[in-house]
Structures are given as structure tokens and as C-alpha cells.
């Protein structure tokens, strides 16, 4: 049971990150963040872009600091204009 719970929490976090990158950093909706891909470069690039904008350490990884900022309330205007 705890293992299932942890897996669900992780899924929820991943969905949140996916939506965050789509909404604010123009991650293409057909790029699935959490399917193992041969080429993870577009996703890593978007995570780096987000970390750079938010003044976080630019690692390209979803570390705890990055996830913490993603969970904070924010304005709905995208950071990257169309």
C-alpha cells in the first residue's frame, strides 16, 4: 500500500510539472515528459529554461527546489510570450 501511494504521488507531481512546462514554457503538448525517450533533450532544455527564469540552479533535473517552486501559486500569464 505505501508503495502504491508513493507511486501515485510521483504521478501527480509529474503531471503538475508537465502542465507547468506546457503552460509557461511552451513545452509542446505531444512531448511526453515521463515516458522514457531516446531523446530527452527538449524536456531538459525546457526545465533548464524554467530554472534559469526562476533563478534556480540550472541542472535540467527536477530537483526538490524546482518542484517546490512549481507547487507555489503564481500568475497565469506565460513567461514566454507567443
Amino acid at each position: 500500500y505505501p508503495l502504491d501511494r508513493a507511486a501515485k504521488d510521483e504521478d501527480d507531481s509529474m503531471n503538475l510539472v508537465q502542465r507547468y512546462l506546457e503552460n509557461y514554457y511552451n513545452l509542446e503538448k505531444d512531448v511526453k515528459l515521463f515516458v522514457r525517450r531516446k531523446d530527452s533533450a527538449p524536456v531538459v532544455k525546457k526545465i533548464q529554461e524554467m530554472q534559469r527564469f526562476l533563478g534556480l540552479e540550472v541542472t535540467g533535473k527536477l530537483d526538490s527546489d524546482t518542484l517546490e517552486v512549481i507547487r507555489k501559486p503564481r500568475c497565469g500569464i506565460p513567461d514566454v510570450g507567443h
Binding site: 503538475l16 509557461y24 534559469r52 527564469f53 526562476l54 533563478g55 517552486v69 507555489k72 501559486p73 503564481r74 500568475c75 497565469g76 500569464i77 513567461d79 510570450g81 507567443h82
Partner: protein, 169 residues
């Protein structure tokens, strides 16, 4: 700081605003006061002035809404997105929308209406998000802001004055 693509800005210095509806989270006078205070933040550092109208179409129409609310940019329920606003222009442009699924408060026990209004009105006047985490135009809500000592950062001032210049003497 940054501005919207094409640097849209108001071509007049006197703007009207209208509070079209109210959240039930706060008394009406508290909402009126938060919006007025948020406008004053920008009024102090620009030649812009604002006056309120209660009927008709204002330059800046302010609404509280939930989920889909007619602009194809639905709110997302409690948390995450708090509000959004449109760059200067006619029609929906310049307008401010607050997500009424948030708990709006006068203090920081919930989401402080003044802080979010001041940020959104920055968009209404032409500022995009800043990458400076000290700036009002940084896109992440900071519940630790000292409301009693609130002031715009130099980054916000530089941004808005790049569009409108300093206040007239």
C-alpha cells in the same frame, strides 16, 4: 523586467477601471480598497492616473471568475494559477481576471488580493514577467512579502518607466 512583444502600452495617461463583480471572500470595501491601493503603486512612479467607473466599458475591466470564464483561458480551481491579465489595448486587453476558487484575504493568511492585483495591473499597463525574484512582476506569489513595507523594486520601476517615463512634476 520585460515587456510584451511589440511593447504595447496605453497611448493616454488617464485610464478608467471598473470592478465588474466581487468575490464573497472579502467585504466589498476591502476589495475596492485593495484595487485602489494596487493602482496607486503604479500611479506613484508614472504619469498615469486612474478613475473608477461603475457602468459601461472601462479600459481595465476587473472580474472574479472560476474555471472557463469566456476568454478560452480557464482557471484551474484552487491553487496554482491565481489570476491573469491582458496587455494594454481595447476590448479584453488591459483586463484583469482573478480566480475566485482562491481564498482572497486582506492579510497573507490566504492569497492577498492587493499583492496579486498590483502584479496583474502591471500586466494591464504593459509589463511582462520579471526574472528578478525581488520584483513585483516575478510570477511566483510570495506570501512572506511584508505588506506594511511594500514597495516596488527598482526593476519594476525601471520597467514601467521604460514605457511611460517618470511621474510628471
Amino acid at each position: 523586467f520585460s515587456t510584451f512583444p511589440g511593447m504595447p502600452k496605453w497611448r493616454k495617461t488617464h485610464l478608467t477601471y471598473r470592478i465588474v463583480n466581487y468575490t464573497l471572500d472579502l467585504p466589498r470595501d476591502a476589495i475596492d480598497s485593495a484595487i485602489e491601493k494596487a493602482l496607486t503603486v503604479w500611479e506613484k512612479v508614472t504619469p498615469l492616473t486612474f478613475s473608477r467607473i461603475n457602468e459601461g466599458v472601462a479600459d481595465i475591466m476587473i472580474i472574479f471568475a472560476v474555471r472557463e470564464h469566456g476568454d478560452f483561458s480557464p482557471f484551474d480551481g484552487p491553487g496554482n494559477v491565481l489570476a491573469h491579465a491582458y496587455a494594454p489595448g481595447s476590448g479584453i486587453d488591459g483586463d484583469v481576471h482573478f480566480d475566485d476558487d482562491e481564498k482572497w484575504t486582506k492579510d497573507t493568511s490566504g492569497i492577498n488580493l492587493f499583492l496579486v492585483a498590483a502584479h496583474e495591473l502591471g500586466h494591464s499597463l504593459g509589463l511582462q514577467h520579471s526574472t528578478n525574484s525581488e520584483a513585483l512582476m516575478y510570477p511566483v506569489y510570495n506570501k512572506f512579502t511584508d505588506l506594511a513595507r511594500f514597495h516596488l523594486s527598482q526593476d519594476d520601476v525601471n520597467g514601467i518607466q521604460s514605457l511611460y517615463g517618470p511621474p510628471t512634476a
